[in-house]
């Protein structure tokens, strides 16, 4: 069984979590790809932590407005009816439970729902930005990640070794191999993406995984 890295399948599957009316915050990096897979009029509302509700698609090349950016600093658009607010209001929305789903990137995620995604001590120190607030306040936390590190190691762990962004807050992990629910201190594999058989996925995941396929 050959593994081929596939970020698009992760983004496409995560977009299917959202029902009309859901308020969603997408982290920077891989989670940003999820926006490309949402139906244009699906009624999903994107919140941008830098102070916008109703985040629209990226601005056409050369037609950007430097006062209209997303959380990664990219030039974007705002949907009709969208609005802007300051950073305290933005994080009040996030922390106050008014965001239904957040999708966050991963350095490590473990079977207890712990997430580490903001620092590799002494090496890579990006900082947490809004990730700690998002995990503390969003109703459902989805971790989006390629299943393997560049070294080939599983990003899904028994126990995170890096400093945590949040303890025990991850509800779902979607990788390019499948969908995992985090429940009772174990990963529950609920969907496999072709062509990978469930046993192959379990064998390449460095954690306790229960088969829970529909």
């Amino acid at each position: 069984m050959d593994y081929v890295e596939n970020k698009e399948i992760i983004a496409r599957r995560i977009a299917r979590f959202f029902r009309p009316g859901a308020v969603v915050n997408l982290g920077i990096g891989l989670p940003t790809l999820v926006a490309n897979h949402m139906p244009a009029d699906g009624g999903v509302v994107l919140q941008s932590e830098n102070g916008m509700m109703g985040l629209g698609p990226a601005a056409p090349a050369g037609a950007g407005d430097r006062d209209l950016t997303n959380a990664g600093g990219g030039l974007v658009t705002v949907l009709t009816g969208g609005c802007f607010f300051d950073s305290a209001t933005s994080f009040g929305i996030i922390r106050g439970g008014h965001v239904d789903f957040t999708v966050l990137g991963v350095l490590e995620v473990d079977q207890e729902g712990n997430l580490a995604n903001y620092v590799v001590p002494g090496r890579k120190v990006p900082g947490m930005g809004g990730a700690m607030d998002l995990t503390a306040g969003a109703r459902v936390v989805i971790a989006a990640t390629l299943h393997f590190e560049p070294s080939g190691a599983s990003r899904l762990k028994r126990r995170c070794t890096l400093p945590l962004t949040a303890p025990g807050k991850v509800d779902w992990v979607v990788t390019d191999l499948g969908v995992f629910a985090v429940k009772g201190g174990r990963f529950h594999l609920t969907e496999c993406f072709g062509p990978y058989p469930p046993e192959w996925i379990v064998g390449r995941t460095d954690a306790d995984v229960v088969l829970d396929l529909a």
């Binding site: 830098n50 102070g51 006062d67 300051d86 990006p126 809004g130 700690m132 503390a136 306040g137 025990g168």
Partner: protein, 228 residues
């Protein structure tokens, strides 16, 4: 209303004393007071303590440098309290080499600490960071069964903010996502300088649409014409 002095960016930068604490508005350069940052770079004032959303962008490969990253490169800060430094490779290098102190603050906590500083609060209680390294050395309080960190207020000697429009009295209106930390910082510093794209007569702004009330603003600086 008494009109606020309109001063040059260089005059504003001269008000920043060595080792002062300074707040800079903006989110990855959007809504950053770029003219004031340039003037502070030219003034070369050192040992400053920065409070900001982030450290700007400094890409060592392409040489791209934005906003306060110019000041970081010029070694003008002794410490930073920011939420994100991922796009500034130079400050990561200074941090790992022990050259500059960096306190990483969750972004929502940073916003509330600044708001608390301006609103006369003794601190805020937030669930953000409970069970992480952010909680180390901080009081944890349990309210109605949930744990919260006590986070202390942040104030500064001076704040440089950026607005789209001001009237002569100093009322400010921001635009789009350039608002971000600016209105919060305008409440939390002893001296507040607003760099604005346009200054209109007092009375020309709708009182219902003001984002920052004029009493928070001490000085106005005319920004260079924007590229939009």
């Amino acid at each position: 209303m008494i009109a606020k002095p309109v001063i040059s960016a260089a005059e504003a930068a001269a008000m920043v004393r060595p080792s002062a604490s300074i707040m800079l508005g903006g989110f990855l350069g959007c809504g950053a007071p770029l003219g004031l940052i340039q003037a502070l770079l030219e003034a070369g004032t050192r040992d400053l303590a920065l409070v900001a959303c982030d450290a700007g962008v400094h890409d060592l490969k392409t040489g791209k440098v934005t906003a306060q990253a110019h000041l970081v490169r010029n070694r003008q800060f002794r410490q930073l309290a920011v939420s994100h430094i991922g796009l500034n490779q130079e400050i990561q290098r200074q941090l790992n080499a022990g050259e500059t102190r960096v306190e990483l603050v969750p972004m929502g906590t940073l916003a509330e600490r600044i708001r608390a500083g301006g609103a006369g609060l003794g601190g805020i209680l937030t669930p953000t960071g409970v069970g992480t390294e952010v909680a180390e050395g901080k009081q944890t309080l349990v309210v109605a069964g949930r744990s919260y960190l006590l986070e202390t207020p942040l104030k500064a000697d001076i704040a440089f903010v950026k607005a789209r429009r001001a009237d002569r009295a100093g009322n400010l209106v921001y635009r789009g996502t350039a608002r971000n930390f600016n209105p919060l910082m305008a409440t939390a510093a002893a001296i507040v300088v607003a760099e604005v794209e346009e200054i209109v007569e007092t009375g020309a702004l709708d009182p219902d649409q003001i984002h920052t009330p004029f009493i928070f603003v001490d000085f106005l600086v005319q920004a260079a014409a924007p590229e939009r």
